[in-house]
């Protein structure tokens, strides 16, 4: 009974929204591709996609590498290495991404004399923040591989490096692939925060258009759809990779 009401509400609410959209409250003309100005507005908005994608991909690549390098000491038996892992993860994880972006862009130049452009400041902040989570994901993945695999590798005299590279990581990565996909989705969304330091990505473009067109509802709705499409593409890409990796074992 209650379940049915909830369902009704879930279906009706967006419908009502759409219906009111037909009234004068909506002004879809700003993004109507059949008019020249609407089309150019749409193109303007879509042009941010390149930076959003480039920034997210660069950041995730860096964070995966850094995350792995932080995860490995965490698995060591030596206390010093282990505490390096804990300290890194706890500190980096506790800084909000937006704060980190502001700190890297405005703070770091004063501290170090190194001035990063908006793109690299954004990438660095995103990657740094994500690396703590990647480290935890890798640690969990590597820990899920049984002791017997290490012993077998040792019994054929493989070095630590080769054991990781050829035996442990290929199995661990297969297991954490869904989690890595999650992080990529998260990264795409969080990259919108880099708009605050002036990065010309999807969110920044939308903001700029809102300022000139005064149509936040329509423009931000398009922005939502842009992220939705991007993330659906990424999700299906990750699924494809998972299937492919499973198939390669058959």
């Amino acid at each position: 009974m209650r379940h049915a009401t909830l369902k009704k509400l879930l279906v009706c609410a967006p419908l009502a929204l759409l219906l009111t959209g037909c009234s004068a409250n909506w002004g879809w003309y700003v993004v109507d591709p059949s008019t020249p100005s609407g089309l150019s507005n749409l193109k303007f908005m879509a042009s941010g996609a390149y930076n959003t994608i480039l920034m997210s991909l660069t950041a995730i690549l860096i964070s995966v590498v850094v995350g792995l390098m932080v995860a490995l000491p965490g698995l060591s038996e030596r206390r010093a290495l282990k505490s390096f892992n804990r300290v890194y993860v706890e500190i980096v994880r506790s800084v909000p991404i937006l704060v980190l972006i502001l700190w890297v862009y405005y703070g770091l130049p004063t501290l170090s004399g190194i001035t990063l452009n908006v793109f690299w400041a954004g990438v660095l902040a995103l990657a740094l923040s994500d690396s703590a989570f990647q480290a935890e994901i890798f640690r969990a993945g590597i820990q899920s591989i049984g002791k017997g695999q290490y012993e077998a590798a040792q019994s054929i005299s493989l070095s630590y490096r080769d054991t990781m590279r050829y035996v442990i990581l290929p199995q661990a990565i297969r297991r954490i692939l869904p989690a890595l996909g999650n992080q990529l989705v998260y990264m795409l969304k969080m990259s919108s925060l880099v708009s605050v330091i002036g990065m010309q990505e999807l969110t920044r473009k939308a903001n700029e258009l809102v300022v000139t067109e005064y149509r936040p509802l329509e423009i931000y709705t398009i922005l939502v759809l842009e992220y939705l499409v991007l993330i659906l593409l990424v999700s299906s890409g990750v699924r494809w990779l998972e299937r492919k990796m499973q198939a390669s074992e058959n």
Partner: protein, 250 residues
């Protein structure tokens, strides 16, 4: 029997090993000559697995000395490399690398440790797969093989490192009864070919056929050492008699 000719290949002297408070090995001494086939038996928890795991240093002993092929075991990385390439090990749970094909399981060690080319490593792998009589399974993945086939692959993987000594840690205990003999047959052939073998097993028929010497362990100590005929017909100690009664009369 053959430990008399010159220095032994493996020399274990007064070795003790603790797991926390529990003493797994109590002052164990044992010499094993080149080409000798030793079968270690005893009730579970008697320290037999621990003893052979100390020989290739999967476990570290705390007291005493283990000399393998002229190398005294210590924490030094060079010694570890040396003994691990001269000592192979076959595990109860096979511990094959599930993400690699049978062929890749076999060639990983020779390629990474000995620097063999793909072609040479493949040739070597096929040679040993023929020896364990499953050359036609080379391109399958471990999980597509039966338990007996997997264990034979594991034996071939050890042989590919061309070790001087092979350790077997209850190699048939995880197998269905109908698969035990195919593994024991391969092991018997190895014994006939002159490989130095130390086998922890409850397969007393195999022990009788193949062993030069029986070692009976209980509660972390070597209780009795004897040639198989004497061991099975006239065991000296009470504990050994009880054990043989339990294992043979069921």
């Amino acid at each position: 029997m053959s430990e008399t000719n010159g220095t032994p290949l493996i020399s274990i002297r007064n070795v003790s090993k603790f797991f926390g408070e529990f003493q797994a090995l109590k002052n164990v001494s044992l010499d094993i000559g080149a080409g000798e086939r030793t079968v270690i038996c005893g009730p579970s928890g008697s320290g037999k697995s621990t003893l052979i795991r100390c020989i290739n240093r999967l476990e570290k002993h705390e007291k005493g000395q283990i000399i393998v092929d002229g190398v005294t075991l210590s924490d030094a990385p060079e010694t570890l490399e040396k003994i691990r390439s001269s000592v192979g090990m076959v595990f109860q749970q096979f511990n094959l690398f599930p993400h690699l094909s049978v062929l890749d399981n076999l060639t990983l060690g020779p390629r990474r440790v000995y620097g063999l080319s793909v072609k040479d490593a493949n040739a070597r792998a096929m040679k040993y797969l023929e020896r364990v009589r499953i050359p036609d399974q080379a391109h399958k993945f471990p999980r597509h093989l039966s338990g007996g086939q997997q264990q034979r692959v594991a034996i071939a993987r050890s042989l590919c490192m061309e070790p001087r000594i092979l350790l077997f840690d209850e190699p048939t205990s995880a197998l269905d009864p109908e698969m035990i003999s195919e593994v024991l047959d391969v092991m018997t052939e190895l014994a006939v070919s002159g490989m130095t073998m130390i086998v922890v097993t409850h397969e007393m028929g195999f022990a009788r056929r193949v062993a030069d010497r029986m070692v009976f362990m209980d509660q972390g100590e070597i209780v009795e050492t004897a040639p198989p005929e004497a061991f099975f017909t006239a065991p000296e100690s009470r504990r050994c008699k009880e054990f043989l009664n339990q294992i043979l009369n069921h």
